[in-house]
Symmetry: C2
Subunit: 534 residues, 2 copies
């Protein structure tokens, strides 16, 4: 989905799982700590042998089918092709015995739904993915974005185009399939379809009912998703939802994520003189809005990330022992990240990244006042602006955070306005700040102790063993809470694709081993989830 | 001169008396506290009768001569016309018995020099003005910039074009002469020439030798001035210099200014991650340069203008009793300015403007980091920049201030670099700041008790009586100290033109009464200065 766009109400939205994880993982780690781990991801899986022989006979066909799917252009605004995609998915599902349908609504691509009812299954799993992709600039691509090309390795490392038939003899672990949405986010759709094939080939029964929910405008901000879910609530009822999007850990180890931080953004404007004044004549007399702003920001947050606003951490729930343990077991990547980002330290070195993002953040994403460098003029600026985004964790809410921040500003002597102040207001209030709040959304975190969470972990560990990384929360924000609330259901994020996939950019690609592992993970979920889901 | 330009060495210069005073006075005061005072400016002058009868017979001729002078285009880069201007001035001076010459140097307009030796005079006064003007955009002018037009009032108030001959019958106090440089800064040149005419017409002797020094590239930054002065030091020797530029007080009362603040500018860059990072994933972990910068700025200056850098005020010399008295006697304009700038307060309300600008200032003239509003992205910026200008007062020096600021940064834990830090430096130092210092220049202030200052005040008060405003210093900065040091001489600023003159903009104009008063002031100086200059 788009990075951070404005929706109709002018609020910034970030419903962008693929993007937020992308940012985390687009690192160019020269040495991948997961290289060795990767060899063993499926090692402890009881079905490994069967799965590999299934793959040996089917992987060319799977890739062939996937290439046909990827050949359909899928920018959300291209309604005709989006409908072709939806029909293609419907047919894919129906070929696997899934009862599939399109939920269509004027003004948006179809929502593709499917249901697989398993006699005797008491639980219903929902699976979410999206079939639209980011808009493309074909001139930047080595091969056209919707003309899928299989290569025997990474383009940057000289990967050469090869025919799909090579897969009849090679497992193609490091092969890459280049096309828009090869990773983001058609891959989970292909993987679940192939997982159904595998189960059928082994005559394995599903242990749960499965409902499929494939959206067509995630990259455009999902403006209709929650409304469609609300309208089709009974059709989409279930006991847990897996949000399948984004890439795996940059160590290449599979990961499962139980939550996401909420967010709330704020545009602040502090006022100085009505017109820019000569800093010689009025410097030290006319209030300087940039100085007012710098001082105000310094009262909000120290330079080590600590938020100084009174009671800001009041609603923050501490991590459970299980969550702390999961973090402790995850690979330590701080040192690697510091090297990559050329940083001498993190904001608070006592804690690792995964601990820090379990706490709220106040990020100053922009400052603007007057001019710097070549454009600098000897003037006292008329105003100074800061753009801030807060990241929230359970049980903070946007509403409460907004109240705390406004209370803080009042305490600092500021008068708060919500639009550009008029002359009377300016003459009345020495310290004036205009606040423009985004709507924001709350954080979400499914407890690792929830029956759904435990069952998912159990099923995935059947395949991935100790490779599975369990993260209590994303640092990034997605409106996971919205889906959970509308469907009254627990949600968990399950990414499958490679981290170095160029998603959103030119030459997006999928590493085939990630597809194979994804198929294995979904197979294990389908076959085992019901047995452990209490 | 230009507002704030870069000279060859990349340093910002502000040799811009006309501009800095302009900024102070371009206010659109609806009610001018000086309207009444104006009536009496020449009231107590002993020569008033004679002067008025001189004017009655000569004002049309003066304006006629001035219009011929103003008709010569005078942008510094237009060398051919600049030479025509110089020759015109030379002729003007020679007609008045002044021995005049051009100091010419490849690459700049001529410096017009003149000398009037008075038998028996022991003191030599230098008079500085500039004959170049700001570049123009003719399409914005009501009449072409170099086709002078006399109007019977302000254009904005319906002033109509009138022939110069009207002045044969009218004193034309509120007439306006429209042309580029009508005010800035050909007016003092015309005024001194006419003052010589007046003295001659009354057979009054000059009491001092006078040397004239008319520059042709002030609006281009005076890049050659100090060098030319240095080269011609003996030719330009004297006992005191009057810098004649800029407008009078916005009350219309004449003013004399004994100094100017120095200046020093600084571009600061604070560093975050090498590339912009997703604020969800890394917010609260990756150092945020905008937060580092805001916190750093807050340690440098509070929001009421007080500079918190240790010992920053250590070299500041308190005002003398005479200087405090002069400020106390000047019109109070704080309330008017607050209304005009739509401010509820000044930085420290205990003190009036004139007191505040006698102290140093730290002005944040620009802030820049990431993006705000529509362009805001959920990213941790890679860097944050602030542009600062310091205003210095006696006896601060740019060198010492720089040392204090750098010491402060070190104390705040910052490592200082002077160019973009490389990977090794970034990985080594958690807090990095790049500092790019301007060269700056020191403040200047001629003591009001200096013999030259006392004599000038005495002579001007002969004409203007209690109307004369005596300001210990401009808030703005001009490299007055440079001229004083090269010529080893005291300097005083004497503006004569109206404050509402549109200088630097389209429709620049001169109010004729200001020209008449200027002629009176120069006449009094020429005739009386030597008698009181001990």
């Amino acid at each position: 989905m788009k990075r951070a766009g404005k929706n109709k109400s002018g609020l910034f939205v970030l419903w962008s799982l693929s993007f937020v994880i992308f940012s985390l993982t687009s690192s160019s780690f020269s040495s991948l700590p997961g290289d060795r781990a990767r060899e063993n991801i499926l090692a402890s899986w009881g079905q490994r042998q069967e799965f590999e022989s299934f793959l040996a006979s089917k992987r060319a066909a799977i890739v062939q089918e996937y290439m046909e799917f990827l050949a359909i252009p899928n920018v959300a605004a291209d309604r005709e092709n989006m409908r072709r995609n939806a029909l293609f998915i419907q047919a894919m599902l129906e070929r696997r015995g899934v009862r599939a349908s399109l939920i269509e609504q004027e003004g948006c691509p179809p929502l593709v739904c499917g249901e697989l009812v398993v006699p005797g299954a008491s639980k219903t799993l929902l699976l979410y993915a999206h079939y639209d992709g980011q808009p493309v600039n074909p001139s930047e691509w080595t091969s056209p974005p919707w003309k899928p090309v299989l290569r025997d390795g990474l383009l940057e490392e000289g990967g050469k185009e090869i025919p799909v038939s090579v897969l009849e003899k090679s497992s193609g672990e490091e092969f890459r399939l280049y096309a828009r949405s090869a990773s983001d986010d058609k891959a989970p759709i292909m993987a679940v379809a192939a997982a159904l094939d595998f189960l059928r080939s082994r005559s394995l029964e599903l242990s749960i009912n499965v409902k499929f929910l494939f959206e067509g405008e995630e990259e455009a901000g999902s403006p209709h998703l929650l409304g469609l879910l609300e309208k089709n609530k009974s059709l989409l009822s279930g006991h847990g939802i897996l949000l399948c999007d984004g890439p795996v850990h940059q160590t290449r180890r599979p990961q499962i994520v139980f939550g996401a931080r909420g967010m709330l953004d704020l545009e602040m404007t502090v006022y100085g003189p009505k017109r820019a004044l000569h800093s010689g004549h009025y410097g030290n007399w006319a209030p300087n809005p940039a100085a007012l702003l710098a001082n105000l920001l310094a009262t909000m947050r120290d330079s080590r990330g600590k938020i100084l606003i009174e009671n800001f951490y009041g609603d923050v729930v501490p991590l459970t022992a299980e969550e702390r343990q999961a973090i402790a077991e995850a690979p330590q990547i701080d040192a690697l990240l510091l090297q990559e980002f050329e940083l001498a330290w993190s904001e608070d070195q006592k804690y690792r990244l995964e601990q820090r993002i379990m706490l709220p953040a106040m990020n100053i994403r922009g400052l603007e006042s007057g001019h710097v460098e070549e454009k600098a003029a000897n003037a006292i600026p008329t105003e100074a602006k800061a753009s801030v985004d807060f990241r929230l964790v359970p049980h903070q809410t946007p509403q409460k955070v907004r109240e705390l921040v406004e209370k803080h500003f009042l305490k600092q002597g500021f008068h708060i306005v919500d639009s550009t102040p008029d002359r009377e207001t300016r003459l009345k209030h020495p310290r004036l700040v205009k606040l423009e709040w985004g709507e924001g959304y709350p954080p979400a975190r499914t407890p690792m102790s929830a029956p759904f969470a435990k069952a998912v972990v159990h099923s995935l560990e059947k395949v991935a063993g100790p490779s599975l990384i369990k993260m209590p929360s994303l640092g990034g924000s997605i409106p996971m809470r919205g889906i959970m609330d509308v469907l009254e259901i627990d949600a968990i994020l399950l990414p499958i694709v490679n981290h170095d996939n160029n998603q959103h950019g030119p030459n997006e690609n999928l590493r085939l081993q990630n597809l194979w592992e994804g198929i294995a993970l979904f197979s294990s979920l389908f076959a085992g989830l019901g047995k452990h889901w209490l």
